[in-house]
Symmetry: C2
Subunit: 194 residues, 2 copies
Amino acid sequence: MAKTDVLSLAILGTLAEQPLHGYQIRKLLGAELGPFRALSYGSLYPCLRRMMAEGLLTVEGEDDDARGNSRRSRIAYSVTDAGKARLSEELASASAHSWDDDTFDVRFSMFGKTDHATRLRILEGRRTRLAERLEEVSTSMRRQRDRYDAYTEELQRHGLEQVEHEVAWLDQLIENERSATRGKNQPSASADNN
Amino acid sequence: MAKTDVLSLAILGTLAEQPLHGYQIRKLLGAELGPFRALSYGSLYPCLRRMMAEGLLTVEGEDDDARGNSRRSRIAYSVTDAGKARLSEELASASAHSWDDDTFDVRFSMFGKTDHATRLRILEGRRTRLAERLEEVSTSMRRQRDRYDAYTEELQRHGLEQVEHEVAWLDQLIENERSATRGKNQPSASADNN
DNA sequence: TTCGTCATGTAATGGGTTACATGATTAC
DNA sequence: GTAATCATGTAACCCATTACATGACGAA
């Protein structure tokens, strides 16, 4: 039931570390997924509400954090047990749309909160998806050769290249993850300077 | 007035070549920008209507195209003079949001319909925009070092890499475009096999 | 005759951004 | 004191997808 949307997932992940205010969540998420995707209050606050209603979050009592700040009408949210359960459940599950860009990014950024097997599964799922896309696009390009002008083709070529680049990245990550099997289950996303 | 949205722009470009039905437009655009961005009828047909109302498009009489097809309730749209004017106007103009991904892609795919100067301006605008983004993100990453775990940092690193890759691509295109100044104003988007 | 594709369209729905409204607190 | 930032929230709006409704044509 209740398909958790990407935003909820991201919030769950951010709050897993420590309780935060809506304002802080926004800043963190904005920086995390980059100025790539900002996030408006118009979607954030309503989402927090929904999650409260679902029992995934609670508001903390307004305890200070010793930095000598005073308290206003600020609300620190934290994840309930139900929320934690939902998070791991959602990370582990691999539904059809799980490999879309946004979803993958959010999941990936939470790798530190999962186990080796889940990480591997997510990486491989994404890799498969991209490989499919690659296949589709290049077949389509071959089929439609000369139906587009040089610039459009160049654009397609570049798009393909970007996807290929991501596939290579994933391969590297998968290899790292695999070789870590014998070692520890620790985050080892260094990958030199490839 | 009337800020032309990306979809209208894309339609204008597609129809510049030849008159097409809504159905065909969708197929072409879907293949052009890839299965990356499909396009639903729910947005296409209303948009065609709007464009008709604005006088940018007309419907052709149902002449056959000699492939022996019969005619149903199919509507072939083509661009009016006003539409053509709008297209070049819009290609030439460089408003603030012109360098967003979608907009750039659409503009780029229409390079064959513009002149050298416009192409160069669009490429350089996009390059500048990406360079800014690059700068922002890497500063933000340096500033926030250790505020994110290894995986999140890896994700950011990869994002950065993708943008860098696109910048390199643009540089190549700009160079090609520049060196073509002495030659002809022809599309020369070959770029070997970089 | 039935299935796939061509072909057009609308209504419901969903999700998000923008703009607005409000106010406390901190740094200068 | 005043500007910037912290902080929360709502309402209006925009725009796109999804699902639906309809139907002709070509090929198996």
